[in-house]
């Protein structure tokens, strides 16, 4: 807090996560002053930007920027306003801190804002237009939102809305502008394109490598193939149940993580306070998801290096974990479990006992197999020193979650901005400084151990006989407010944010998946590595395509 005492306008600073603030209370800065504040704040390596996005409020575009501190619970909200038409031209923040490059590209794509001096102005999701035509897409978005407003919640209308969106994308295809790939020229330099359709059943994404022989000089990742307008749908969907189901579908492997971020945002807006039992249940579900994915990723890492033994044992273990979740809520990925204000599936004593028994088995077997994996010389030679990302690089690109922690950046929302039951737990994040594939594999092992212990503590420390509450789907939101919520999914920090209008409807909804920044970490990891190590590096991050594409 001492950092901000010299502010001319007192910045909005909170220590609670999630938080709600009336729009009128959000400090509005002139753009040059805004830039200076951001520069000041991001000069501290322990601060990172959790969101920077623009919201159209009548004739103005209001830009919200939230900076989070990794060492205290602080969240600082800043904003600046610009006329929406004609699209403003602003000095680029990316020049001061590279982590802003994705935010500015996204804003430019959505609202046609020009950022002067931006070094890498490329589309984030709509590759068929150059960034300059961003306004076209924005127009299309407005229209969709508008069409949803008229007939809220009507399924047919929603379908029509989607069709319209698809129609616009087809048009874009017709006036296709080739994606401006970076290319290196020289003797012996060749380009390899991988995707967007990949071998194995994974999501679409295009990777363009510039190689010299087997060495990768540069990797460019083109995403957006799964853009489906999630953020717009949050405006269209009026009922709590629709929104909750939508939040589960943002990224299939982070159903619980995104649900928690969404649900606590809605609860904060609606003023619902979840009971302690409910909070504990949510964290148990979240940590179960983390354990399941981490074990699955351990298996996948073994698959990529052709270590069959590690693969099959871990795959079998993951099944135990997700089946345990299924025995709780009927869905192996925890869908249907996280709802606003209550839960359809209270955790009973019997279920808790089943959890304890299954987790004990998982722990024993996982410890055995990881001991086997991390002492096998042929495995270690494939993990160690491959795909290194330094702490400095991770800081610059604004890496979050596992990608940050495996590179020695201590960034974990569970401890820095505790949410749900974490406010009562003093969680100490695991960090490793190596930044290579080994670190990312080892981090998984260590986090699984911590999560297992965490679940056990929560189960033992919670009274599950507590009368439980049913979910509330008809909540009313406050008028003209800004709300933001953070959650630490297994991949890292998930940000959900909403702005409400004068009638208490959602005017704008913003989702940020950890992959949004972390894809850049993958591009840095494979630099100067062998191209054949790319799949291993990719798997070690296991980033989300649809979480990025939204």
């Amino acid at each position: 807090m001492t950092l901000f005492h010299h502010f001319t306008i007192s910045p909005f600073m909170v220590t609670s996560n999630p938080f709600v603030v009336p729009l009128a209370d959000v400090p509005v800065l002139a753009y040059p002053e805004f830039v200076n504040k951001i520069k000041e704040l991001t000069a501290d390596e322990r601060c990172h930007c959790v969101t920077y996005h623009a919201v159209p409020l009548g004739a103005v575009l209001k830009f919200f920027c939230c900076i989070a501190s990794d060492h205290n619970h602080g969240l600082i909200l800043l904003s600046h306003e610009q006329q929406a038409t004609p699209p403003p031209s602003l000095e680029s923040l990316t020049l001061h801190h590279p982590s802003f490059h994705m935010y500015e590209r996204e804003i430019s794509e959505q609202w046609g804002v020009q950022f002067e001096g931006h070094p890498w102005m490329k589309p984030v999701r709509s590759h068929f237009m150059d960034a300059g035509c961003g306004m076209q897409d924005a127009g299309c978005g407005m229209q969709d939102a508008g069409c949803g407003m008229q007939d809220a919640g009507c399924g047919m209308q929603d379908a029509g809305c989607g069709m319209q969106d698809a129609g616009y994308r087809m048009q874009d295809l017709a006036s296709c502008v080739p994606y401006p790939f970076y290319s290196i020229e020289g003797e012996g330099i060749h380009e390899v394109g991988v995707g967007p359709i990949h071998a194995g059943v994974i999501e679409p994404g295009y990777f363009r490598f510039c190689c010299k022989g087997e060495k990768v000089l540069h990797l460019e990742i083109q995403l957006g193939f799964q853009h489906k307008g999630i953020e717009k749908l949050f405006i269209v969907k009026r009922s709590g149940i629709q929104r909750a189901v939508l939040a589960e579908s943002i990224a299939g492997d982070t159903a619980v993580g995104h649900s928690i971020a969404h649900v606590q945002l809605m609860e904060a807006l609606a003023g619902i306070r979840p009971s302690e039992t409910l909070q504990a249940e949510r964290i148990i579900a979240l940590e179960m998801e983390r354990i399941a994915v981490h074990i699955g990723d351990t298996a996948a890492l073994c698959t990529d290096i052709a270590y069959q033994f590690g693969q099959v044992v871990n795959e079998a273990l993951r099944t135990i974990v997700i089946n345990t979740t299924q025995s709780w809520c009927g869905n192996r990925f925890g869908k249907g479990l996280i709802r606003t204000g209550g839960s359809h599936y209270p955790l009973t004593r019997e279920l808790a006992d089943l959890y304890l028994a299954n987790l004990k088995e998982v722990e024993e077997r996982y410890n055995q197999i990881t001991r086997e994996i991390f002492t096998n010389p042929s495995v270690l030679s494939r993990f160690e020193g491959i795909g290194k990302v330094s702490a400095h690089q991770a800081g610059l690109i604004g890496a979050v979650g596992m990608a940050a922690r495996s590179s020695g950046v201590k960034r974990d929302i569970r401890s820095s901005h505790p949410f749900q039951a974490f406010s009562k737990i003093n969680y100490e994040p695991v960090t490793l400084h190596q930044g290579d594939v080994w670190a990312r594999a080892m981090l998984r092992k260590l986090e699984v151990e911590k999560s297992l212990q965490l679940i056990r503590d929560l189960i033992r420390g919670t009274d599950f006989q507590n009368n439980h509450t049913a979910p509330q789907y008809d909540y009313t939101l406050p008028v003209s407010s800004f709300a933001l919520s953070l959650a630490e999914g297994w991949r890292g920090e998930i940000m959900h944010s909403a702005v409400t209008d004068e009638e208490g409807n959602i005017l704008h909804y913003k989702v940020k998946d950890p992959s949004f920044h972390n894809w850049m970490a993958l591009a840095l990891a494979v630099r100067n590595q062998e191209i054949s190590d790319f799949p291993l590096c990719n798997k070690s991050y296991n980033l989300s395509y649809c979480g990025n594409d939204l």
């Binding site: 060749h190 033994f309 042929s378 494939r382 062998e530 191209i531 054949s532």
Partner: protein, 329 residues
């Protein structure tokens, strides 16, 4: 002739055994022994699809690949029976027949114009090139040891009763197994199970083949494996036949009961045939086990690993030179 026929028989169960062993090692029951061949037969019944960027080379490659391996089979010796085409120095033809098949195969991969296949072809060419010296040094060593020049007589005249048989035998079998693994693109240099194009060597080169052509390639690959297995079996047969108490019991029994000399030969042959088949089966099982409990090598380390084989072959060669007193008299 017997060698070639036996190799073809082994090829029927060879891929199935590898698959089965890997399945059992990973805690699964696994498919039937004949499943790989059922898949190949299925492919034989399908027509091929060709990319429009390819030329006749692409279509020629699978047939040539299979043809060269069939020709190489004709050189596979078997004790007591001449190989179909054996002659002095035939192991050079043997090696270059396989190289010719590979050359066409590499050209076919390059013909697709795919960057993946280009990379795969590049890697395959490098590995083959590096494996060649190891193979020739090994055959040279055996030739020196036996004083013969055709594969048939080399293996027939190998003396295993000598004091240095164990060490040369160990080196030779280790090298033959490793060369077979590299030439057939198995672990640790390649992973036949992977779906990741960027890490593939052999698999990426056959990505564009389908139907009949794919069936030809898979047939050839299986035959190639048993070809090397046959060499290992040949290496072991005189050794086992020499020492086997079973064999001597048979011989004694034949003599005692005045059984015709022909029957004696027949029993000898039966023993050799069973050794051949058992060696192939054990080889397949060993591959399955080797591939189950370790990770593959980093691609950049592969050349280093393959060159090591040549050095080991060279050590064997010098050892034999010393022991046969050709180096120091």
């Amino acid at each position: 002739m017997t060698g070639a026929l036996l190799a073809i028989v082994s090829a029927v169960f060879f891929p199935g055994i590898i698959l089965r062993v890997k399945s059992i090692a990973s805690g699964r029951k696994g498919p039937g022994i004949l499943q790989p061949w059922k898949n190949i037969i299925l492919l034989f019944r399908k027509s091929s699809v060709f990319s429009t960027t390819t030329s006749f080379i692409f279509r020629l490659a699978p047939a040539v690949y299979l043809a060269t391996i069939c020709c190489a089979l004709m050189l596979l010796p078997f004790p007591g029976m001449p190989s179909v085409l054996g002659f002095e120095g035939d192991f050079i033809l043997f090696a270059y027949l396989l190289a010719l098949g590979k050359l066409l195969f590499i050209l076919g991969a390059l013909d697709t114009g795919s960057s993946f296949e280009g990379m795969g072809a590049n890697r395959e060419a490098l590995y083959s090139m590096l494996t060649e010296p190891a193979f020739f040094i090994l055959l040279g060593t055996l030739s020196l040891l036996s004083g013969q020049f055709s594969m048939q007589s080399i293996f027939h005249n190998l003396q295993f009763a000598g004091e240095f048989s164990l060490i040369t035998g160990g080196i030779a079998i280790y090298l033959l197994v490793q060369i077979a693994m590299i030439e057939n693109s198995r672990m640790p240099v390649d992973d036949p199970r992977t779906h990741l194009e960027l890490t593939m060597v052999h698999e990426v080169m056959i990505l564009d083949y389908s139907g009949l052509d794919l069936a030809l390639i898979q047939t050839a690959t299986n035959l190639k494996f048993v070809l090397y297995g046959g060499l290992i079996a040949n290496f072991l047969m005189p050794a086992v036949a020499d020492w086997s108490t079973l064999a001597s019991t048979w011989h004694v029994a034949c003599d005692t009961w005045h059984v015709a000399r022909d029957t004696w030969h027949l029993l000898d042959a039966t023993l050799n045939v069973s050794i051949f088949l058992v060696v192939e089966a054990v080889f397949a099982a060993a591959i399955g086990l080797m591939e189950s409990f370790r990770a593959r090598k980093k691609l950049a380390k592969n050349p280093q690993f393959i060159v090591t084989l040549s050095s080991i072959a060279l050590i064997g060669f010098i050892l034999v030179l010393l022991l046969t007193r050709n180096l120091i008299r």
